[in-house]
Amino acid sequence: MTIAIPSLKVETRTRASSVSRLIALAVLALGLAAPFLVSRGAVQDLFFILTMLVLAQSWNLLAGYAGLISVGQQVFVGFGAYAMFGAVILFGIDPIPAILIAGVLSALLAIPTAFFTFRLYGPYFAIGTWVVAEVVRLLLAQWKTLGGGTGTSLPREAVRDMAGVGLLRDLFGMKPAQASDAITYWLALILAAATIGFIYRLLRSKQGLGLAAVRDNEQAARAVGVDARRMKAMVYLATAFMTGLAGALIYVQKARISPDAAFSVTDWTAYVIFIVVIGGIGTIEGPILGVILFFLLQNLLADYGSWYLLMLGLAGILTMLFAPRGLWGAFSDRTGIQLFPVRRTLVGGPSVHQGGSSHG
């Protein structure tokens, strides 16, 4: 017996999401024009925000959706950065293609590291990722051609003659430093948009549905045919790729690298975790909100040195205790607003009511 449901339809969009789609496009357009509209300082601030956003979205995908709590993501930032430096210094490749190479190499690095860390669960996994990051840091610190523990700088010409710099100079009369700022900024913008786009698409795809199932109940997910291990491995690889790209991009802009800086737990993992947790883990909106708050906090309090970090630590603790779903989570729970909805809503059909509680 089959029951025909002629008017059945599945919708994934809400009014808020249609609005936010427009807003996103406008923001993107405005973002692209930013180097012509705002000061260089603002462009650099935006670069910082965007790269941190990429790191935060990646960690959020890993921890918030795949349940893999890593405190060792700095391994991909540092490795990506070193791969880029290696490609530029040793092979004379232009920094921009070198960034791509770095992303790919980071994803490749994820294979052997997953081999170790995926044997571990929960807190063990977290510690395991940290140790792996230390091992990679110590190994790279032995690589004398890239400066060993001292670190090294990108050749000045590499950045100055980077693809596109000449073009910008000719077209808009930008100074090389300004032009390379603009280029790295655009790359960061594209990377951030692509990361969010990728994560959003993933979550709305069949794989995303499987991922959500694994997050909610791994045992049941396996029982209905979801390959939880593969799913997690895939996410781990994807985040390694995105994090590696971000790391390489950040260090194109910094132009100087050392193992301690590139593999800093504080800069590339602790801050990122705070951003995600304070903003709202397990949502796409959370890290966006979090990174903006983080930036404001940093600017307001940077001159207070250790007080700033102390406040950040306290804010993280308080959020975890009193609003474990973060600021966006709390907001969304109260208002039902979601800018990036992933719900599949069944509408139409004989007796479907389009009930109000369509938000989770």
């Binding site: 530029v88 001292t150 090294t152 910094k254």
Partner: protein, 397 residues
């Protein structure tokens, strides 16, 4: 009245390197007062690197882009000076840097430090300090005062300083060999190592009577205690970095007696400030009076940094033009609190001639005072005879 000239200053004021930045606010306050008295209009924007190289690069960018400073000043350890100088160079911002031996500063900023043929000078980044050749000369001069078997044990970590000191080309090994010392270098260790038995065993086996290296304070404490426990007591221990600050030596208890170290500045240095006319002794005394803390070596260099800034900016045709300021820096001839400074390539290999100016270096030994605490006594001045000694080298008991 002209708009104020803006100086950006980056140093580690918090974090593990904070001892280096300890004198900053004292030096800056004194400088602003002196500048005002002279009718100069300067604004100084100070940024804390938090001892973090990432942060140092970031604040340097902010100073250049947001604050639009006219000149970048940076001090203390390659971890701080290198990211800042790299950023300034990329941005076309003139930069004066100090308190890092020149090799880790210069070579450490090259794309491929292992390939001297690829090294290039900088257009905007200038550095003044001594180099490894100086510290080698000072150390060996000190060692020559004591009867030893000329067997040296080396402690070089895998960091900016350690790699430079231990370098087979520009570091200690080639020079020591030439001078008839044999160097026992077990290899680069990581900072914050908990056990030095491998090194101690190697030094014992090699019958080393002299220990040298560039070690961070916690590691030196670990090493020195362990060495004593293992019955390894060299006649001479000349260590860079770990013995700079009196607090660090005091942390060794009585075991700090007669340890020796490089001395780049002290109250007995016979130099005067070009800005205030004060002598070294006067500046040191003022510091102790204001802060209640003993004098430290970075005071003189932080002070000199500002002397150089004023000098270059006054001479520059247009202090707001980076190229003009860079040209003025390159043409400097100034007698500062740390000695005469000129980027004239004196005592330097050709590749570094443009960007480095050297300051005099002597050697000293920490001596226990009767009432507790330590004195740093200058024990060797062959490298800079104008700086008076306060005693001669003694072997460690």
């Amino acid at each position: 009245q002209n708009a104020a000239i803006k100086l950006g200053y980056v140093s580690p004021q918090t974090g593990p390197l904070a001892a280096f930045g300890e004198a900053d606010s004292f030096v800056i306050d004194a400088f602003l007062m002196a500048a005002k008295a002279k009718g100069l209009n300067y604004e100084i924007i100070v940024k804390d690197s938090q001892s973090n190289p990432n942060r140092a690069a970031e604040v340097a960018k902010q100073l250049i882009v947001d604050d639009e400073v006219n000149l970048m000043l940076v001090a203390s350890t390659p971890e701080t000076t290198n990211p800042v100088a790299t950023t300034a160079e990329a941005e076309g911002m003139p930069c004066i840097s100090t308190v890092a031996p020149w090799q880790p500063w210069f070579i450490g900023q090259q794309g491929n430090p292992g390939d001297p043929a690829s090294w290039k000078p900088f257009d905007y980044a200038f550095h003044f300090f001594w180099g490894l050749e100086d510290v080698i000369a000072v150390f060996t001069n000190m060692w020559a005062q004591v009867e030893t078997n000329k067997k040296v044990g080396g402690l070089f970590p895998n960091d900016g300083d350690g790699n430079a000191w231990g370098d087979k080309v520009v570091g200690f090994p080639p020079v020591l060999e030439k001078m008839g010392y044999s160097l026992n270098d077990p290899g680069r260790y990581q900072n914050m190592t908990d056990d030095f038995s491998a090194q101690i065993n190697a030094f014992k086996a090699g019958q080393c009577e002299i220990i040298t290296g560039v070690v961070i304070p916690p590691d030196f404490t670990t090493f020195w205690n362990q060495a004593k426990q293992q019955g390894f007591v060299p006649k001479v221990a000349s260590i860079g970095k770990a013995l700079l600050f009196p607090q660090a030596v005091e942390a060794l208890g009585n075991a700090g007696h007669n340890l020796s170290s490089e001395v780049w500045w002290s109250p007995s240095h016979p130099f005067k400030s070009s800005l205030t006319g004060e002598t070294s002794a006067e500046v040191a005394a003022a510091f102790t009076k204001t802060t209640g803390r003993p004098w430290t070596q970075p005071i003189g260099f932080a002070h000199a940094l500002f002397e150089l800034a004023v000098d270059a900016l006054t001479r520059a045709e247009d202090p707001t033009d980076g190229d003009a300021v860079a040209a003025a820096i390159a043409a400097t001839r100034l007698d500062t609190l740390v000695g005469p400074i000129a980027w004239d390539g004196k005592g330097l290999p050709p590749f570094a001639a443009k960007n480095i100016a050297k300051t005099p270096l002597v050697g000293g030994q920490w001596r226990l005072k009767d009432g507790g605490g330590y004195d740093l006594v200058i024990t060797d001045n062959k490298t800079a005879p104008n700086i008076p000694t306060g005693g001669t080298m003694e072997a460690i008991a």
